[in-house]
């Protein structure tokens, strides 16, 4: 039981954490929660199966093609569903526009791909330290993304520009930073991260168009729990979510595990509304 909780919990937690990071990366430059994050996760699994299983591409090429495709979907999201509503952020129209695009992607996938779960290919035929690929791959992907983002944000000009836009959009523009270009780049990056989440967890989630909802819902929980925009918080909360979900699966079982997850989520937000890693809001006096 413990082995299953840890293996499945860490793997799914890492996948949720990656989706949460995709949410955050998009949010940081646009202040928009794009619900296409779940669609990107779903596309990661479907594209991986398509490129490797059906088209016969080598695993690495299939992975790169998947990431490139999802990055393009991210860019399309910025142009189609985000840019037109940025001027009226206070009306939260992005909820409708990104959700609509997400549903369109899902339905298109259902029509063109398959309406029933399809197998995801095994890339490496041997286990790593006795751990099956579908369990270690999401965790490795998560570690690589965390490390990559740290390098990007702390040791590159473009990363610092991302942070500047996230910190103060108007000040960054006043300094001459190309805000639109950076926003498009952040959506491409989020697309690749979301696609990687689906690709890495394909062995568990399978290549299934209906994976959009679990990725969207369970991927959003670490965003809120880990404090909005905080990638480290999202990673910790995502892993914790995966472990708790799997433990609940064993302890209460069946459909009640989802109830347990969302109950704890609601209680946690009641206690710390700013998230586990966020500072309390400043009090006006």
């Amino acid at each position: 039981m413990i082995e299953s909780i840890i293996s499945y919990g860490l793997a799914m937690g890492a996948a949720y954490a990656l989706i949460a990071v995709a949410y955050n990366v998009m949010f940081s430059t646009s202040r928009v929660f794009s619900f296409t994050a779940g669609a990107l996760g779903m596309l990661g699994g479907v594209c991986g199966a398509l490129f490797i299983d059906r088209l016969g591409l080598p695993g690495v090429v299939g992975l790169l093609a998947t990431l490139a495709f999802c990055a393009v979907v991210g860019v399309v999201t910025e142009f189609v569903a985000v840019r037109p509503v940025l001027r009226s952020l206070d009306q939260h129209l992005y909820v409708l526009s990104t959700l609509a695009l997400c549903l369109m992607i899902q339905q298109f996938t259902a029509i063109e791909w398959s309406t029933v779960p399809q197998p995801f290919p095994q890339l490496i035929p041997v286990d790593l330290l006795g751990i099956r690929e579908r369990f270690w791959m999401p965790v490795v992907a998560c570690v690589l993304v965390v490390g990559g983002l740290e390098l990007l944000y702390r040791h590159s000009m473009i990363g610092r520009a991302f942070l500047a836009i996230a910190e103060d959009n108007f000040a960054a523009r006043a300094l001459g930073l190309p805000e639109r270009g950076l926003r498009v780049a952040s959506y491409a990056l989020a697309g690749a991260i979301g696609g990687l989440a689906g690709f890495a967890s394909g062995g568990i989630m399978l290549a299934f168009f209906a994976n959009v909802s679990p990725f969207n819902f369970y991927g959003f929980i670490p965003v809120a729990l880990g404090s909005i925009g905080n990638n480290r918080g999202a990673i910790v909360a995502g892993i914790a979510l995966g472990l708790f979900q799997q433990a609940a699966n064993f302890l209460v079982g069946g459909v009640f595990s989802s109830v347990a997850v969302f109950s704890v989520f609601i209680v946690a937000l009641l206690i710390v509304p700013q998230g586990l890693f966020g500072a309390p809001p400043a009090r006006r006096v």
Binding site: Y8, T115, P117, F208, Q246, G254
Partner: protein, 396 residues
């Protein structure tokens, strides 16, 4: 010229007759609108895709041969995506706007529970394949007829096999969280207990649950000697079989026909994980010990071979689709009318209508048409052309 009362009467009769014949003439050229409502996309779409192939083939075949009494069949398909709300909208559109003459579907019980009263309100003859018992009631729903067994008949077949043939005493019951899965699980638990078996574990699981090993570990710990499985989600079925194999549990699984679907095979980590899995099956779609199907069904397979895929679906889904179209077409042909009362009256008069999926018997008092004796269990991993071998233990 004087206007007499008799003249007015004759004139009215003449005008009425002229109007009637004009309507009949229009009806004669009017297509027979056959509504086909099902989930063609979504987690529970595997059955719908199977029926859809034979329905299209049969409609095209009838139309190519000139139609029914000179009238073509117009196939009106709507995809409910497994969502009862969408099914209700489609049913309203079919009944109110498109004015279909008869309808087949939905094939998912959760949707059918929502749409059956709608078709009844509009008096549309409807053929169903859902197994939930309450869907058929000749008093409440005089227009609704069932081609498949009801849930009790399926449940009887599984329970009989596990308890009487395999001699299991302790069973686990697992279903998915759809309307059908929830009801079937509850019914199975109740009936196992009534039959004297001990239900040591029962659970309703999300149809898209990723890890189901906790459920199987609990069932094994509770001492289950067999598992009754009630889910038509091929993803969940495959995950249950994979989890059973991974924990090294050599227990029998028996239940919903989707356990034998070709889509399950693609998702299994090892082919042997499909061993000792038995699905509800039918004598009409089962290979006997000599590996042969009944002659009529074998002839149909030869007819459609190469015209549509049979390997990734179930033969009974395909054959039921043929029977649905044929029952409507024959009712219109024999009665010369597509009126609701005529079609329903024709179906009510069938004592043993020889379909491909089954020989149905309907009456004004009984709209469950499938013969119970033709329900058997089949070995899930023996599919050829969508048909399966009869499970071990049955007398041939």
């Amino acid at each position: 010229m004087s206007v007499t009362r008799r003249g007015v009467l004759y004139g009215s009769l003449g005008a009425a007759a002229a109007g009637l014949s004009a309507r009949q003439a229009a009806a004669a050229g009017e297509p027979i609108r056959f509504g086909w409502l099902t989930a063609l996309t979504g987690a529970n779409s595997a059955p719908g895709l199977g029926y859809d192939r034979s329905i299209r083939y049969t409609v095209n075949k009838i139309n190519a041969a000139g139609g029914i009494n000179g009238r073509k069949i117009e196939l009106i398909t709507r995809d409910s995506q497994g969502d009862p709300a969408k099914a209700v909208n489609a049913a309203m559109e079919m009944a109110s706007n498109l004015k279909v003459h008869a309808v087949f579907g939905p094939v998912n019980s959760g949707e059918a529970l929502a749409t059956t009263p709608i078709f009844t309100r509009f008096k549309i003859p409807s053929l169903g394949i859902c197994v939930v018992n309450s869907l058929i009631d000749p008093v409440k729903f005089p227009n609704a007829f069932r081609l498949s067994p009801d849930n009790s008949q399926w449940d009887d077949a599984v329970r009989h096999y596990l308890l009487d043939i395999l001699k299991a005493k302790k069973v686990a019951v697992i279903g998915d969280n759809t309307g059908f899965g929830t009801m079937a699980t509850a019914l199975a638990v109740e009936n196992f207990k009534k039959a004297g078996a001990e239900v040591v574990y029962d659970a309703v699981i999300e149809a898209n649950a990723q890890d189901v090993s906790p459920n199987l570990i609990r069932a094994r710990s509770a001492g289950a000697e067999a598992i009754a499985c009630w889910s038509d989600s091929t993803g969940l079925d495959a995950r249950l079989m994979n989890a059973r194999g991974q924990i090294g549990w050599d227990v029998v699984m028996a239940g919903h026909p989707a356990l034998g679907s070709g889509d399950v095979a693609h998702l299994l980590e090892k082919p042997e994980y499909w061993n000792k899995v038995y699905t509800v099956g039918y004598r009409s779609c089962s290979f006997d010990a000599a590996g042969k199907l009944p002659p009529r069904q074998a002839a149909y397979i030869e007819e459609v071979r190469g015209k549509f895929e049979l390997q990734d679906t179930l033969l009974w889904w395909v054959l039921a689709g043929v029977d649905a179209v044929t029952l409507v077409a024959e009712a219109v042909q024999k009665t010369g009318s597509s009126d609701s009362d005529k079609i329903i009256g024709y179906w009510n008069s069938q004592k043993k209508w020889p379909g491909l999926y089954g020989d149905y018997a309907f009456s004004p008092q009984e709209h469950n048409g499938y013969p119970t004796n033709d329900i058997v269990m089949s070995a899930a991993n023996t599919s050829r052309d969508g048909a399966l071998n009869i499970a071990p233990g049955y007398a041939s």
